[in-house]
């Protein structure tokens, strides 16, 4: 089943994104929300693991409203990560077979 993984914590605060990427299947999507949006930015120490996962086929998205709240513009987001809104968040949950909310 294809899974929507959400990660709500920054990779610099907690290991949730790390664990998510270690236990993810290639047909999954990761949506970064809340403080987790920090993981979506270019040129961080977490960017490589995201690029590696994208290379394996994992899709990434980031919640635009949470980026905006934190003063992070969409142009700072890693290429290939789509910016979605809450309606997009809902749609991702609908489009995948199950949901894993990493906390």
């Amino acid at each position: 089943m294809s899974t929507l993984h959400t990660v709500n914590k920054s990779p610099f605060e907690r290991n949730s994104l790390d664990t998510c990427l270690l236990l993810i299947k290639n047909d999954s999507t990761v949506l970064l929300i809340e403080d987790g949006v920090a993981g979506a930015l270019q040129n961080t120490t977490a960017s490589q693991s995201i690029s590696d996962a994208m290379g394996e086929g994992v899709k990434f998205a980031v919640l635009g409203e949470d980026l905006n709240a934190r003063g992070l513009s969409a142009d700072r987001v890693i290429d290939g990560i789509s910016v979605v809104d809450y309606a997009g968040f809902v749609q991702l949950a609908v489009d995948h077979d199950n949901v894993q909310n990493w906390l």
Binding site: M1, N15, T19, L22, L23, I24, N98, Q100
Partner: protein
């Protein structure tokens, strides 16, 4: 209820430092009455929930570790422990309680509920779950 779903509980936090270990266990116990398929996953610091010899008098909190040993009686007998999480923490399966259940299809023989799994197996468990509970 005629629907049977696979309920997979993801436990990633140590006991006592926060309430999640205790209160997630309470969900598992109540959930047992609903005759669904239940799997408990212990990964990251969640592995500490199952350590033997917990003694909480000094911190003044209730020791709920015995409750894990009773899970078998509630038909919760699929316990998956991440072997890498144990190794990272200098632990082995021997440091954990050996949870068991009585197999009613095998003359009530006592069997182990414990499964040591690698990351690929955990990825499959997550992918195959109908309902994933996180705390």
């Amino acid at each position: 209820m005629s629907v049977t779903k696979k309920f997979t509980y993801i436990n990633r936090k140590a006991p006592y430092g926060s309430v999640y270990a205790l209160e997630s266990l309470e969900v598992v116990l109540i959930g047992a009455a609903f005759e669904q398929e239940v799997q408990l996953v212990f990964v990251d610091d969640g592995v500490y929930q199952l350590t033997k010899g917990q003694s909480t008098d000094g911190i003044g909190m209730k020791n709920f570790s015995k409750t894990y040993a009773a899970l078998g009686d509630y038909d919760v007998n699929q316990i998956y422990v991440c072997e890498q999480s144990l190794a990272d923490r200098g632990l082995t399966l021997d440091d954990l309680q050996a949870l068991t259940y009585e197999d009613e299809d095998d003359d009530w023989a006592e069997k182990s509920s414990m499964n040591l799994v690698n990351r690929e197996q955990l990825a499959d468990l997550i992918s195959d779950a109908d309902v994933l509970l996180n705390f």
